[in-house]
C-alpha cells in the first residue's frame, strides 16, 4: 500500500500526488500517442469515438458530477457546438479559431439558457432540460437557412495552416486532433478541481445553504458550471460532426442526451475516470451486442431497442449495486489488492445515508 507523506502544500496542489501516479498517466499518454502504430484503422476509429464521448462526458460530468445539476438536454449543446463550428468554417473562419470559438459560443448559449433554468431544482431542472432537447430538434428545422434543416450539413475538411485532417481518409490525423482536445479538456477539468471555483461547484452540489453562507453566489456559480460544461460539450459536438461526416436535426436527439447522462452514471459520477469508463461502455456496447447476437441468435436478426434495453438494464444494476459506477468498483478492487490479504469483507459497506428532502414544505 502506498502512503503519501505530505511535506508541502504542493503535494495537494500538483496534478499528480506522487511519482507512481505520474508514471502511470505518462505511460498512458505515451500509449495513446503510439496507438495508431499498434492497432488497425477500424479500432483506431473506435478509440476516437470513445475519446469524443469521453469529452462530452467530461462536459456533463462537470455539471452533474461536480455541481450536482442533472441535465437531460446536453445533446442540444452538442448540436450547438457542431453547427457553430461548421457554420463558422463555412463563413471562412479558419479551423484553428473556429473550433475554440464554437466551444465558447456553446458556453455562452449555455449561460443564457442557464439563467432561468438553473433556478429550478431536481426534477424540474431535468424536465426543463428534456424540453430543451426536444425543442433543439425543432429549432434546427426552423433555422433551415443556417442549419440546412432536415437535409443536414457536411463538415468541410479540417485545414490547419494547410495541414489537412479528414476523418475517413486520414483517421490517424483525426485521432491525434481528438486526443489533443481530450487532453486539454481533462487538464481544464483537473485545474478547476484544484482551484476555488471547483470547490465552489462541490459546495453548491452538497449544500446550497452553507455555500451561500460561505460567500458563494449560487446562481452565478451554477451558471458558470453550466457554461463551462456546455463549452466542453460543444467541442465534443463539433468533433462528433466531423466523426459522423454528416449531421442533421435528428443527429443530436433526446436519446443522445439520456445516453450521455447514463454514461457518466455507469462510469462513476464525480470523477474524471468515470467519464472515460462510461465512454468505453457506450462506444463498445453496440459492438459487443452485435458479436453476442452473432453467437447466439445469428447476425441477420434485427432486434429494435436491444441496445437501449441492455444499456438500461446495466444502468439499473449499477444504480442498485454500485452507485459509484465503474470507477467505484475499480477503486475497491485496487484497494483490495493493495491491502491484500488484509481487506475485510465489510470494508466497503455503504455508509448509512439519510434522505435529504428536496421537497419544499
Amino acid at each position: 500500500m502506498r502512503i503519501h507523506f505530505k511535506t508541502s502544500y504542493e503535494h495537494d496542489i500538483r496534478l499528480f500526488p506522487d511519482r507512481w501516479s505520474f508514471g502511470v498517466y505518462a505511460a498512458l499518454l505515451i500509449l495513446a500517442v503510439l496507438l495508431p502504430f499498434l492497432i488497425g484503422e477500424f479500432y483506431l476509429g473506435e478509440v476516437t469515438n470513445v475519446l469524443i464521448w469521453a469529452i462530452a462526458g467530461l462536459g456533463l460530468m462537470l455539471l452533474t458530477g461536480q455541481t450536482g445539476q442533472a441535465s437531460l438536454g446536453h445533446a442540444a449543446f452538442l448540436a450547438v457546438g457542431c453547427y457553430a463550428n461548421t457554420i463558422l468554417i463555412e463563413q471562412g473562419v479558419p479551423f484553428i479559431i473556429a473550433f475554440p470559438l464554437a466551444g465558447v459560443i456553446t458556453g455562452l448559449v449555455g449561460v443564457v439558457i442557464a439563467i432561468p433554468v438553473l433556478r429550478l431544482h431536481g426534477i424540474y431542472l431535468a424536465i426543463a432540460t428534456i424540453a430543451l432537447s426536444i425543442l433543439a430538434d425543432d429549432i434546427i428545422v426552423l433555422l433551415e437557412p443556417w442549419t440546412g434543416g432536415v437535409s443536414g450539413k457536411f463538415p468541410e475538411v479540417i485545414n490547419i495552416f494547410g495541414f489537412e485532417i479528414e476523418r475517413w481518409t486520414m483517421p490517424t490525423r483525426f485521432y491525434y486532433l481528438v486526443l489533443v482536445v481530450t487532453v486539454v479538456c481533462t487538464l481544464f477539468y483537473r485545474n478547476l478541481l484544484r482551484s476555488p471555483l471547483g470547490r465552489a461547484f462541490a459546495a453548491v452540489r452538497d449544500s446550497e445553504v452553507s455555500a451561500t453562507a460561505m460567500g458563494v453566489h449560487i446562481a452565478r456559480t451554477k451558471g458558470t458550471a453550466f457554461g463551462l460544461s456546455c463549452m466542453i460539450t460543444g467541442w465534443a459536438g463539433a468533433l462528433m460532426g466531423y466523426y459522423a461526416g454528416t449531421f442533421n436535426n435528428e443527429t443530436f436527439s433526446l436519446v443522445i442526451s439520456i445516453t450521455l447522462l447514463m454514461m457518466i452514471v455507469i462510469g462513476g459520477l464525480g470523477s474524471i475516470h468515470g467519464a472515460f469508463f462510461g465512454a468505453v461502455v457506450v462506444a463498445f456496447l453496440p459492438q459487443a451486442l452485435s458479436i453476442g447476437k452473432d453467437l447466439f441468435i445469428g447476425g441477420s436478426v434485427a432486434i429494435p431497442g436491444l441496445e437501449t434495453g441492455v444499456f438500461g438494464l446495466i444502468l439499473i444494476l449499477f444504480i442498485l449495486f454500485e452507485p459509484m459506477g465503474i470507477y467505484g468498483r475499480w477503486m475497491k478492487i485496487r484497494i483490495w489488492f493493495e491491502l491484500f490479504p488484509f481487506a475485510r469483507k465489510d470494508m466497503f459497506k455503504r455508509q448509512k445515508s439519510y434522505l435529504k428532502t428536496e421537497r419544499l414544505r
Binding site: 502544500y9 484544484r194 476555488p196 470547490r199 451561500t212 464525480g270
Partner: protein, 255 residues
Amino acid sequence: MSLLEIRNATLKFGGVVAVNDLSFSVEEGEVYAIVGPNGAGKSTVFNLISRFYEPFAGSFQFDGGNLLDCKADEVADLGIARTFQNIELFDHATVLQNLLVGRHRHRKSNLVEELFFAPRVRREEHAHREAVEEVIDFLDLQPYRDKMIAGLPYGVRKVVELGRALASGPRLLLLDEPASGLSVEETQDMRWWIDDIRKQMGITVLMVEHDMGLVSSVSDRVLALADGAKLAEGTPAEVQSNPAVIEAYLGAGAA
C-alpha cells in the same frame, strides 16, 4: 459603536410572528448568547442576520454599514461566518476541501486563470492552505484532514463546521447550537475553543445555545427570547434568575 446592532426586527411567516420587534446589539470582542425555549425564534434571528430571510421591519447595522444592503452571499464578505443547527457540510468532500471553501471569500483569481492554473492561482492556493492549516492546528483536526465528511462522526463534523467558519477569517462568528449533540468532553473542548476564539483571535461570537452550563461559562451577556420577543438581557447570572425566564422555561406556576 456596536459591531452588530439590530433594532426593532420583525418577521412573520404567514400569520405566525417569528421575531417580534426585537432589538439588541453585540459589542466588538464579546461572546453574546441567545437562549430561549424551542420555537422562540433564535435560529430565525441568525437567518435574518445571514440574510436568508427578509425582515418585515427593523434595521440591521454591521460595523456601521447597513446589513440589509447585502445579499445572502455577500454577508460572508463583510466578515460574518456561521454554523448551522443541523450540520450543513459538504458531505462528498474532504475536511480540507470543506475548510478551503471557507476561504472562498478571499478568492481573487478569475475563471480563465483557474482553467489554466496560472501562477497567481497557485500562489493563492498556498496562502489559502496556510490559513486553513492554522485552523486545523487550532482545532486539532490533523487526523481527519483528508477524510470524507460522509464518514465522520457527529462530534467531528461539528468541529469541522466551526473550522470552516473560522477559515473564512471572520470578524463576527455566528454559532447555532455549537454544543447540541456533543458529549460532555466535546462540550468542554467547545467551551475552550470559544474562549480562545474570542481571546486569541479577537473574533466576536454570537451564539444560540441550550446548554446553560456552556452559556454561563463563556458568554459575557445573554439574551433570553420567548415567542420572538426579548424576555431578558444581561449577564448569565442575571438572566438565569429572572422570574420571566424561569416561567418561560418551566411554565407558569413552576416558580
